[in-house]
């Protein structure tokens, strides 16, 4: 995203004197905009993009520095405060164990963001390599990789994740973040690979690729320098949306008791425990639910907004 923005800003020539690419005497703003520049132009006028971006920044801030939002220790629980109402810094009151609900909710962002980011990195790398190879070389490699994608895609994600995470985490201690990341990485890369493959297929037959090949560029250079930049936009969109889905899946696995484990603080675990005591107090259920929903929604909206900007036909 930041690369995209940087490219877009330089294309738009926001600071004309600092733009070395602009020929002297030509107004940079009057130049025709590139695809990324066009997308950024649309994006800036889309309020959904700003709302989503603000939410994403907020969640990341919460994950990096939870102390900014709540000074209470999320693990300092006291059953004498069980289901106590809001007080002082504990805006949402206390839960069954007497823990500060607001503090737990804020600290829960870290696990979600960690899982989401690392799972997306893993799916991104696998999807990029598979999609690029299948799309560029075609032939038997493409046929083989496409079959693998079909099989993985044929299994419902949650079902496979349940079986796989149970297996992987069978006798390991710790928070379980690595297990969940690996499970999501193994199962979640297919859409990204498909999208990458089809963009590579489209880019491969372009004139500039033929030109690069004629100039003697090898396959690696063509893939990296010529095809990748032109196939990146839909790939980034898919990964942004996937980040949201991965966070939701992590919470679901934790909810089912097979994802993260205490002492890790996860919205999924908190929703699961609070759901059992919902008749006594609703706030311990509502707070993590709200934060989880907003986080998932933010990434999906961000992805949608970027896609709309890159593909105006879809609107």
């Amino acid at each position: 995203m930041s690369d995209l923005e940087m490219a877009a800003t330089s294309e738009l020539g926001v600071r004309p004197p600092a733009d070395p690419a602009a020929p002297p005497g030509v107004d940079p703003a009057a130049r025709t905009r590139s695809l990324a520049g066009d997308a950024w132009y649309d994006l800036r006028r889309n309020w959904i993009f700003w709302v989503a971006a603000a939410l994403v920044v907020l969640v990341i801030l919460m994950a990096v520095a939870p102390g900014l939002f709540s000074s209470a220790d999320p693990n300092a629980c006291n059953t004498r405060r069980q289901f106590a109402g809001p007080s002082g810094g504990a805006f949402f009151g206390y839960d069954f164990q007497g823990c500060d609900v607001f503090s737990r909710t804020v600290h829960g962002a870290r696990a979600s963001v960690l899982v989401g980011v690392f799972a997306v990195l893993m799916t991104g790398v696998i999807g990029l390599v598979f999609g690029m190879l299948a799309g560029y070389f075609g032939g038997w490699l493409d046929a083989l990789l496409s079959r693998v994608v079909d099989v993985v895609l044929g299994i419902p994600l949650l079902l496979a994740a349940i079986v796989l995470s149970k297996r992987l985490s069978a006798d390991r201690q710790g928070s379980g973040i690595a297990t969940v990341v690996i499970v999501l990485g193994i199962l979640g890369w297919t859409t990204a690979a498909r999208v990458m493959r089809s963009s590579v297929l489209a880019a491969r037959s372009q004139d500039y690729v033929a030109a690069a090949r004629m100039l003697g560029a090898g396959p690696l250079r063509i893939m990296w320098r010529h095809i990748l930049p032109n196939a990146l936009a839909p790939f980034i969109v898919v990964l942004t949306i996937a980040l949201g889905t991965f966070i939701a899946t992590e919470a679901t696995l934790s909810f089912l008791n097979i994802g993260l484990r205490p002492p890790a603080i996860s919205w999924g675990i908190d929703i699961s425990t609070a759901g059992k005591h919902v008749r006594e107090a609703a706030m311990p259920l509502i707070a993590p639910s709200l934060f989880l929903t907003l986080t998932v929604l933010a990434f999906i909206m961000l992805g949608d907004a970027i896609r709309d900007a890159f593909d105006p036909k879809l609107r």
């Binding site: 419902p156 079902l159 609070a274």
Partner: protein, 308 residues
């Protein structure tokens, strides 16, 4: 057509064997001691251990075990759980509940999704269109683990419109709220897709022709627009069935419905390998058959599609 179906069935066999093998390997390969898991904290005597080991072929190599399993699976014998209950019996108890739940969820999803999607697609940019779009965005972002307990809290505990839990023998009325929760995500996706494809088809040449022939607006919408808009929607419903099965795990857990999802989860948590592999195998078959049926439905909806 027949050749196409045969080819698809052969592909299904390969996928089925592949999937069951992977699940079987994941559940059984270097697992913890299942006999100890069965006994809990109690010590297991050597005699009992020996009998159980022989009975379940626990000492045989992995591939031999898989062979044993597939042989009895193909004769319709799902074997027994580690606690000794025949898995076939559990399935007979569990499937009707899950089928009822899933059909009800699909019914709500198609009913609300297609109706609202049609209206939104015909009146693009109207207040109805914009508000449903915003609502679907929200629903798509709502994970089922949020939707299920919150729905239970609001409509079960606070408003009291529906029973909070479905109980051992769920009635249709008791399943309405779980089905709405389970079908919510599908409703949203069906709605969006219907809207998009209706909006595209309204501008198609054949719709203009139909209007020019003097057909009534109702007939144009129902026959010309809707039928042609249904093709992508039906694929989606087929694909969604897999998500529905997965969502059923959470929904059945929250609303306490004794269905496939809750049994499967129970099996996973007690490390009951036979139970999990049996249920997952059947789920995969259901999933594959649905996808085949969906593909065949294309040809019915769109006569231009021919399978060779």
């Amino acid at each position: 057509m027949a050749r196409y179906i045969i080819r698809r069935l052969l592909q299904m066999v390969v996928t089925f064997i592949g999937t069951t093998f992977v699940v079987y390997a994941l559940m059984f390969a270097n697992q913890n001691d299942p006999i100890q898991a069965l006994a809990g904290d109690k010590p297991v005597s050597d005699n009992v251990r020996q009998v159980l080991t022989e009975q379940y072929h626990l000492d045989d190599p992995f591939l031999v075990q898989y062979g044993y399993y597939m042989r009895s699976l193909l004769t319709g014998d799902f074997g027994k759980t580690l606690t000794g209950r025949p898995i076939g019996d559990i399935m007979v108890d569990a499937w009707p509940n899950t089928i009822k739940l899933a059909l009800l969820a699909l019914f709500f999803a198609t009913l609300f999704g297609i109706t609202a999607g049609l209206v939104a697609g015909l009146r693009r940019g109207s207040a109805f269109d914009n508000s449903t779009l915003a609502l679907t965005l929200l629903v798509v972002g709502l994970p089922i683990i949020v939707l299920a307990p919150i729905g239970q809290l609001v409509f079960g505990v606070k408003l009291g419109w529906f029973p909070t839990t479905a109980g051992a023998r769920p009635s249709i009325y008791g399943l309405i709220l779980p089905a709405l929760v389970l079908g919510a995500a599908s409703t949203a996706t069906v709605l969006r897709l219907t809207r998009a494809s209706v909006a595209e088809n309204v501008r198609a040449d054949y719709v203009r022709t139909a209007r020019a022939k003097g057909l009534s607006a109702r007939r144009v919408v129902a026959v010309h627009v809707l039928r042609n808009s249904m093709i992508p929607v039906i694929t989606l419903i087929g694909v969604d069935l897999g998500n529905l099965m997965a969502g059923a795990i959470v929904t059945e857990g929250v609303f306490n419905i004794p269905g496939v999802g809750s049994k499967l989860l129970q099996g996973i948590q007690t490390e009951d390998g036979p139970l999990v592999v049996g249920f997952v195998s059947v789920l995969v078959v259901v999933f594959l058959v649905t996808n085949l049926l969906v593909d065949l439905l294309y040809a019915v909806l769109d006569p231009r599609i021919r399978y060779e």
